[in-house]
Subunit: 429 residues, 2 copies
């Protein structure tokens, strides 16, 4: 019979890989909780009407949604992000205390062309705060962003910030109708296609590409860049408002003592339609090619698409795949293949009961332990221990049981010690 | 605009609910790891050819699979359990060391009629060991089963065991062709439809229902029930083999010191097609109506359906929804609405920087802390703390900053203490 593979663009995560992924996810979760966010889970699929709403992901994302009908003919789709479902939760639960601070870590699906770092099923770790229009809320997410990467062991990374209002201001002074041309979508492709291609696409629309290109090329430390932009956008109300907001966010970043990680980059646009204010993307130095490892921003109208009232929100999304890939390349992970700490080798079947008892004692003390369930000889059992990389083995035979002393083998060092059960427990705990 | 709801049969889990679910899932995960199992994750959807295989779930399940095509026309379906995907992983990765011991906790989907305790999207926590044909492997899962429920705080529950081979033996002595009639499926409905209905269905097939009903009514403590069954099935080779296996499993259950939780119940059949040997179901006393909270068994041919070699496997599946529901009814959970430990109340905007600094200090010490991001007055901030059930509040004003002493409010007791930052850290840690 032919072997059946995983569907295209999806993957299995074997234990060795899962242990790495869990390390990353747990660190992120810890930071989210430290900042006072609580877990929320929503279904894997949602109504098509929610997912396909114009103010949600937008046309490009819509093309990528896995669409299906249930047996009653309801139109559904697999969620493409964790923010649109959050908007529905807020709309459906007006009783929720504001600010509503939640995180969600889970799978999302996009029918994208599979390539390095891009999958059709991937994991996002999202954190959002709904209810505050204050810039201190935006800054809090930049602090979370920085905290996550520091706690994962990164030192050289940069959070690049912009404000959609600034780009709106730019369009205003260029006399470009923002509803007519989707300039945001073109700008968002900058990292992917490069400045020259963006220029070409803008020229195709017949707009003043030079002015735009010059402006979005402004990047660097906040104070000077904002000052420069203020002069250019001085005649745009929305643009000036956007720059003032940026200034305020920067002020809070200084209070959070994270300003060294922050840069202004007026080319940041974010592909998803729902952003309305401050937006940010994070890249790891030396891994800019992989793209943003964490991005987000402010969306002040998102809840409306699910039938709720207008309510401001801010959030961040971490890309688990990209972070894991970079950490692998940087060799940050310990190479661990199993969470089992010790394997109990039974010399023969007469001591099975003793092995079980010892294993249960280890487990009661929180030590992850395995016994032989294959009826294998000692050599084969030790080969298994080696193959899995279990750090310790305990040898149990009739002699050992009589003496109540067991050989504890350190598999890495190759050393052996004869110890009482209590001493083994103490050593392994 | 009309509010968009969750798709029928699916639910959101708000933080208060999620905290309960995570408590249960973490306990289960801990037990799995203590027994030396490692995490594995597979895609949410699989090829239709895998999911619909006859030796997999079987006809009844097939009807309940969410089916869809991707944009290239590939036939896919949302997974209905975590065992069939495991079979595919084993088939695709012959290099994996055996026994391959993995756990998987995640969503599965079945287009079932939604009712109390039954959803279209639900969570399973599965643990499986692939590669051993020994009964010590079957017994290990019963030990895990017992360990999970004890660690969740349950005392009165029973693991009811049977062996599919015993039922095959019964069919043999009743001269019923097991390939002609799906007797397993009828027996599996016993809890749902009752003995009388099962009898009717059997009579419809024209088989000797009395002999079957008498036999499957045998239940109770292992020794006597097995002895009784041995006499009835003495002329069936497969039936006797099944009873001998049961005896061996019971022997190991005694070694594991869990025999008090174990009963024989010859009516247990399990609905899924893939089981071939020992099967078990667990019910909580007083909650038998909810059905099995954990079930599983041995499947010796499952890997074949994914194109792999025949390889024996055993596994268990915990139903998260049912366990959570029962624990709620039994009032086992603490009523916690948030993981935030402390909220920093700012007396006015002049101390925002000090609040941020204090919050960062708390977070550095592993204490989950929130600050005001709404620009609210003191009263409103304290209302928020109350509404979320955050256990502590720290009051920070210009006076407090000057003295470097802050009021720590215990929200439950209503008491206040003036403490230095260091003393607050020590107290909350």
């Amino acid at each position: 019979m032919k072997k059946i593979q995983t569907p295209r663009g999806t993957r299995d995560f074997l234990p060795e890989e899962m242990i790495k992924r869990e390390f990353v996810i747990n660190k992120i979760k810890q930071v989210f909780e430290k900042y006072g966010f609580d877990p929320l889970q929503t279904p894997a699929f949602e109504s098509w009407s929610l997912l396909s709403a114009k103010q949600g992901g937008g046309e490009e994302i819509k093309e990528d949604i896995y669409y299906f009908k249930d047996k009653a003919g309801r139109e559904l789709g697999l969620r493409f992000d964790l923010t649109v479902p959050l908007a529905r939760v807020i709309a459906n639960n007006p009783q929720l205390t504001k600010p509503f601070r939640r995180y969600a870590i889970g799978r999302v699906w996009r029918y994208d062309r599979p390539q390095k770092g891009r999958y059709r099923e991937f994991w996002q770790a999202d954190v959002d705060s709904v209810g505050s229009k204050e810039m201190i809320s935006d800054a809090e997410f930049i602090a979370i962003d920085v905290d996550v990467f520091r706690s994962l062991g990164f030192k050289n990374f940069v959070v690049r910030i912009n404000n959609r209002k600034v780009i709106e201001g730019l369009l205003e002074i260029c006399n470009i109708d923002k509803n007519k041309y989707d300039i945001f979508r073109i700008l968002d492709k900058l990292e992917k296609i490069g400045l020259e291609e963006v220029k070409k696409e803008l020229n195709k629309l017949g707009v003043d590409s030079k002015k735009i290109i010059d402006f979005i090329s402004i990047r660097g430390k906040p104070d000077k860049t904002i000052e420069k932009a203020k002069k250019i956008l001085k005649d745009s109300k929305i643009g000036t408002e956007g720059l003032n907001e940026l200034e305020e966010v920067i002020k809070y970043c200084k209070m959070y003592d994270i300003i060294d990680y922050v840069e202004i980059d007026f080319s940041i646009a974010r592909g998803l339609n729902y952003y309305t204010g401050i937006v940010y993307e994070t890249t790891i130095k030396g891994f800019e090619g992989i793209g943003s490892v964490c991005s987000g921003g402010r969306y002040d109208k998102l809840v409306e698409i699910a039938g709720g009232e207008r309510i401001p929100g801010v959030g961040l999304s971490f890309g688990i795949e990209r972070i894991v890939d970079i950490m692998k390349e940087k060799n940050i992970f310990d190479s661990i293949k199993t969470k089992t700490k010790v394997f109990i080798v039974s010399v023969n079947n007469s001591v099975r009961k003793d092995c079980i008892k010892l294993a249960q004692e280890l487990r009661k003390n929180g030590i992850n332990a395995q016994i032989d369930i294959m009826g294998r000889n000692i050599r084969k059992q030790l080969e298994y221990v080696d193959s899995l990389g279990i750090p310790y083995a305990i040898i149990v035979g009739p002699e050992e049981v009589k003496k109540n002393k067991y050989k504890l083998k350190d598999m890495k060092k190759g050393t052996e010690q004869e110890l009482s059960q209590q001493n083994i427990l103490n050593k392994l705990k």
